[in-house]
């Protein structure tokens, strides 16, 4: 079969693995974006900067306090999540009653400020983060670096845990209900503003967690989230705004599509996701998993 297509299997599987890893990050980030959009009605364009902050937090924790990767996996998201909570309490909550455009502009501006500050302090060349699990497996048809395999599995676990938390728990039921009708949920005695703050903190922590996972693969740099947030935004649009399962499936799926494009027609690999987005918007404007309200 491979001979027929004229593609060596190593190249195909190598790109598929890369696609899967990229997809893992798309999925984790779009999940947070979808949850935040559902609850706050804000398209959180600060997401890429918060992902970058997660990676930086892990890098600084290692460099200054000698905190190992595995501890950073927990500590960094908490730190960045708390930063998100402060941001929501101080700034974001003032714009919920306004049009989406204002939320978009505000979070976009915040991202520029945050990324600018990091660039000013640490430059834009990037710093390496040591691989916590070096080595790999020879699968016969390809070589699998252990850490990359770990990232894919970890991302799947994180995504499914988030899905479970939202779809199958009591807190998740509050979240879903408050997404639909916050006024009524509040009239049942639930502190909805606090729920909103918590949701934003969790969404931001999820972005930071993805950032920590990305640190050993990519360089830790102030601008590492800039392009990613655009792709992730496209993923959320394709999956359907606010759809949880849609974000996960679309994230992994588009990572694979991108990987395959790199094999068969490399020049299109940077644009293929946006082509898919345009097609989906034409055919099913609410997204593949979205519901028209």
């Amino acid at each position: 079969m491979f001979e027929l297509l004229g593609i060596p299997p190593q190249a195909l599987f190598g790109q598929l693995l890369l696609g899967l890893i990229n997809g893992a990050f798309y999925a984790m980030l779009s999940l947070g974006l979808a949850v935040i959009f559902g609850m706050l009605n804000v398209i959180n364009f600060t997401h890429g900067a918060q992902y970058m902050m997660g990676a930086f937090a892990a890098w600084l924790l290692l460099g200054i306090f000698d905190v190992p990767f595995w501890a950073s996996l927990v500590i960094a998201p908490i730190i960045v999540g708390l930063f998100g909570i402060v941001l929501e309490k101080l700034i974001l909550k003032r714009i919920y009653h306004l049009d989406h455009l204002y939320g978009f502009l505000l979070t976009f501006g915040l991202a520029l400020v945050i990324e600018g500050l990091f660039q000013w302090k640490w430059g834009s060349s990037g710093a390496p983060y040591p691989n916590p699990i070096p080595g790999g497996f020879n699968l016969g048809f390809m070589f699998l670096p252990t850490y990359r395999g770990f990232v894919v599995v970890a991302a799947l676990v994180i995504c499914l845990a988030t899905w479970y938390g939202i779809e199958r728990t009591k807190l998740g039921a509050y979240l879903r209900a408050a997404t639909e009708n916050p006024t009524l949920v509040r009239a049942f005695g639930i502190n909805v503003p606090r729920l909103i703050t918590l949701t934003y903190g969790l969404g931001v922590a999820l972005a930071a967690l993805a950032g920590v996972l990305a640190a050993p693969i990519q360089q830790v740099s102030a601008l590492m989230g800039v392009n990613l947030v655009l792709i992730v935004f496209a993923v959320v649009v394709i999956g359907g705004m606010g759809s949880i399962m849609g974000s996960i499936v679309t994230g992994f799926g588009l990572g694979l599509v991108e990987g395959l494009t790199k094999v068969f027609y490399p020049p299109a690999s940077n644009t293929v996701i946006f082509v898919v987005m345009a097609l989906v918007l034409l055919i099913k404007p609410a997204g593949l998993f979205g519901q028209t309200k």
Partner: protein
């Protein structure tokens, strides 16, 4: 005579720029079932929403068990023991029937158990795994009432529970409301359907143009029928 549970005095309320309530006064004693009657736009729903704290702008006084609630947020008011069943029912489509039923948190002891609620509404038990909004109108109404019985709230605000339902369902809802009263719930019912209201309530307050303009006891309904009909325009 039982103590006053809820007292509304000089209540004014606004939706944005439009002034809806112009000084509403009435009270409910513990264990009573009282209705607000009136034409469309008289301010009945707005009164319920004001009691629940859902409107942003309201002035005057609303005291519940002697506590002033006019400045409280709705989650705080709910936790005092007031529960609201909105006219549009407010069933959540992203929750199944059971999740809808368990959504409102228990705020006080003394509410019904899930088993008791399912016993009261056997249809809901059968369909407990269905999406909330897939139920028929009558079932959705039962779900909307059922879910506020678990919380331990002592005052129930029911906004037109019979609207748009078939007569046999209206009758069933009437039975349930009477059962709830006999269990000791205090109920404020908004109704357009006067004949329904007359069969369940102790007292009727008539509203017009954002004020309560008259009170009729259920025992006097027969004598006052002409007057009531002219108020309600039926």
């Amino acid at each position: 005579m039982a103590e006053t549970l809820l007292k509304v005095a000089g209540l004014q309320a606004w939706y944005g720029e439009s002034h809806i309530l112009h000084g509403v006064d009435f009270e409910i004693r513990r264990g009573e079932l009282v209705t607000l009657l009136g034409r469309n736009g008289a301010g009945k729903t707005t009164t319920l929403r004001s009691i629940m704290g859902i409107l942003c702008k309201r002035t005057g006084s609303i005291t519940f068990e002697g506590r002033e609630t006019i400045g409280m947020t709705s989650d705080h008011i709910a936790r005092l023991g007031i529960a609201y069943c909105p006219e549009e029912r407010g069933i959540f489509s992203s929750l199944n029937v059971d999740e809808n039923l368990r959504l409102p948190p228990v705020v006080k002891p003394g509410g019904l158990s899930i088993e008791e609620i399912y016993k009261l509404f056997p249809n809901l038990l059968e369909r407990r795994h269905s999406q909330g909004t897939k139920l028929s109108g009558g079932e959705q109404q039962m779900l909307a009432i059922g879910r506020i019985l678990r919380t331990g709230a002592t005052l129930l605000l029911l906004d037109e529970p019979t609207e748009g339902l078939a007569p046999v369902i209206v009758q069933r809802i009437g039975e349930i409301i009477r059962q709830l009263k006999s269990r000791g719930f205090t109920i404020l019912l908004v109704e357009q359907n006067f004949h329904f209201a007359a069969t369940v309530a102790d007292r009727h307050y008539v509203m017009e143009d954002g004020r309560v303009i008259d009170t009729v006891a259920s025992s006097d309904v027969q004598q006052s029928i002409g007057k009531l009909q002219s108020y309600l325009g039926v």
